[in-house]
């Protein structure tokens, strides 16, 4: 890309991008699976209460779970069929989690939605539609979008940052969304700005996605109803972890979030571009959030793809649909290779936050044993938050994990840059997770 490209100044790494496996593949809609399992906790906050019981008939888009009075998001049937009950599904993070299982009715037809003019709605109505549709942050954290957009009256924001960095290697879900649904994303941005009462939006896209940048710019140019909204696409120099909230805010606006406050404290609300598309769907189409784009990639899958998948579809069915796995498959990761979770089974349902499923062969992954810290300091250079992963790991190994608060590990969002550069291959992120647990334990005493 020509022109000035910004990035965040502190730390960061350049893992092999591996985007070429799927970056030119259009989003392909996967046929409905035979069964979905809708994990009750797809989001940050409390799990949903199931609203259906065994043998209930449900139609695609029906509300099947909700959270009352706590942080959470609604859950909808992603296919039409019969509820099999609440089962235990494998979950990449917590191991097993309760989920509503629905077996598909093969005769059911797909539901279609008609667009309406969202400008007819009041702010409250817009917000209600987003909440009703169960939209959560699709970049990974799964924070309920409706809650994020409900600001306390004393909080003033002036900028919406749309996160199209997609800095994780392999993943192209956001990239393809930007290329194929640029108008939806721009409309979604205007809906969010209307709710927030602001008129400026910066979209941060790493410059390894020239098609996405071009598509968004074209959509902005051709937009006939700007109504005073100013939307700017900012190409960013490729650097991991640019897609993290703090880094994307700094790259796009130059503002830095102080430790321990929300991004709204520096006048910014950040949304992932995929979430913005889901907000558009929720408001304009009235369509609940029950499907998403998942990049299925890696050398271990026969046919890599960007799939539009119903939430709750099992990874095994996805692999089947794409021709199966290759014999040298060594690791399956839900999410990206830097922050994703390795799983021991393919019997895992996709959730609203599953941006990728990677089938990695042995030559794509790290299997080296780790050694002692040689104090090279590479991790200090790599850490985007200015922390000291080396010292945390040494403290944890010495049994002093509770004494590591001095290294600021509350700021660590576990991007893995430190472990990526460590020449001793130390699992530094895991050491930091252990340290966080030890600090929590010691506070509890």
């Amino acid at each position: 890309m020509n022109g000035d490209t910004a990035t965040f100044p502190m730390g960061g790494v350049h893992p092999p991008e591996c985007k070429e496996l799927t970056n030119n593949l259009s989003i392909e809609t996967m046929p409905n699976p035979s069964e979905v399992r809708l994990v009750l906790k797809q989001h940050a906050g409390a799990p949903c209460e199931p609203l259906v019981k065994k043998k209930d008939k449900v139609v695609e888009g029906d509300l099947v779970g909700s959270v009352e009075r706590k942080l959470g998001a609604n859950l909808h049937a992603s296919i039409s069929g019969t509820v099999k009950g609440v089962v235990n599904a494998f979950h990449p993070i917590v191991g097993k989690a309760p989920a509503i299982a629905i077996s598909a009715d093969p005769q059911a037809e797909g539901k279609s939605y008609q667009p309406v003019d969202w400008r007819a709605f009041s702010k409250e109505e817009l917000l209600a539609k987003i909440k009703d549709a169960g939209v959560v942050g699709m970049g990974g954290a799964g924070f309920p979008a409706g809650v994020k957009l409900t600001l306390r009256p004393d909080v003033k924001v002036d900028t919406l940052v749309l996160n199209g960095a997609e800095c994780e290697p392999y993943l192209n879900a956001d990239n393809r969304c930007m290329i194929e649904y640029p108008r939806d994303i721009i409309e979604g941005a205007k809906i969010i700005m209307t709710i927030l009462g602001i008129n400026y939006c910066g979209i941060g896209v790493e410059d390894n996605k020239p098609d996405a940048i071009q598509a968004l710019r074209k959509a902005i140019e051709e937009d006939t109803s700007k109504n005073g909204f100013k939307i700017v696409v900012k190409p960013l120099k490729v650097k991991y972890p640019q897609g993290s909230a703090d880094q994307i805010m700094q790259s796009v606006t130059g503002r830095v979030r102080p430790s321990g406050v929300r991004s709204s404290a520096i006048g910014i609300i950040v949304h992932n571009v995929g979430t913005t598309k889901a907000i558009y769907d929720a408001v304009v189409l009235g369509k609940p959030s029950y499907e998403r784009v998942v990049t299925v990639s890696g050398k271990g899958i026969k046919r890599p793809a960007n799939l539009m998948v119903k939430v709750g579809t099992s990874v095994a069915e996805i692999a089947d649909y794409l021709g199966g796995t290759t014999p040298d498959l060594a690791k399956v990761v839900i999410g990206g290779p830097m922050m994703g979770f390795a799983v021991s089974t393919l019997d895992i349902p996709v959730t609203k936050t599953t941006s990728g499923v990677l089938f990695l062969t042995k030559d794509e992954i790290d299997t080296q044993p780790y050694g002692p810290c040689i104090r090279c300091g590479f991790c200090l250079e790599a850490c985007p938050m200015g922390l000291e992963p080396n010292n945390v790991s040494i403290y944890v190994e010495a049994g002093r994990g509770a004494d590591t608060a001095q290294f600021g590990i509350d700021d660590c969002f576990e991007c893995g840059s430190c472990a990526f550069v460590c020449p001793s291959k130390r699992p530094l992120v895991q050491f930091i997770r252990l340290a966080k647990m030890k600090i929590k334990e010691s506070k509890g005493k």
Binding site: D246, D366, R375, K425
Partner: protein, 351 residues
Amino acid sequence: MRETQGTAAEATMKPGLASLFVSVSPHVKNTETVGKIMWTVVACLIPPLILSVFIFGFQTLIITLFSVGSCVATEAISEKLLHRPITIKDGSAVITGLLLAYVIPPGVPYWMPILGGVMAIFVTKQLMGGLGFNVFNPALIGRAFLLATYPVAMTSAWLPPIHHAAIFEYMGKGVDAVSTATPLYLLKHYGIGAVIEKFGSMSTIYGNFFVGWRPGCIGETSALLLLLGGLFLIYKKYITWHIPVSMIVTIAVLTWIFGGEKFFTGNPLLAVLSGGVMLGAFFMATDYVTSPSQKNAKLIFGAGVGALTVLIRLKGGYPEGVCYAILLMNTMVIPLDSWFRPKRFSEGAAK
């Protein structure tokens, strides 16, 4: 590795998938390893060794081989005895062996580096906990030990550079017959006049010393090759410029101020080109384990090594001070790293 579980998975898996790796994130790592870094340092240390054969003769190679052999063997045996994984393949013991040989005079008996190697690896490194846990630079403790126990050999086995590539000239000869004095010894005890008398005009001295043609320890004489090796390590981002630059600049400035008969009359260039400054600055003071990790701490560390070097050279009992200067500053690594913390992300926030 865990067995895959679940029915759908097995049903869909074609033969060949029996188990999946499961580990914590990140799942990709870059290609740098401790071994790769260490062997690169070894490669950067080889040119000065080859040159030393043509400066001091073939016995430098034998001394170095005994030193490296001793270090590697000691590492293997002590790790075996201490029930640790054998790590001789990572190259760190080879570096220690090379560096130990490089900081002893070229005319010492062959058993001496063997003894130094045991001291360096077993006592200084393995007994402290192995790679990553030693406080002091192993090679320099090896040298300090030899200097304390065999002071005569360690301070007199200097050889004048050979001529016409007569690399076997000193083989089998008694050292006493050919021993000479180092530039720093002459400078300390007889002044700059004696140095010029022995090594020629200042421009000849600068040229010869830069290339390596001067009496000194085996691997320390060629500023040129050590500089090239050091720059390569900086280019590879294996070391940073902070310690070498702050150390060399400090030595030059303090020598200029205090090194002459009057203030500001010392010879900074000669100070940097003599003794072990270049070897120490690029290959010893930058040892990861025994130097600070923070950039500002590195600057202070390098300046401390430089200042102590000049202090020992000018006021101490020895003509050269790089070895003890680094060892003394090694003790300051942990305090320095805790005084200088990296700048946190949120510190960049507008107040």
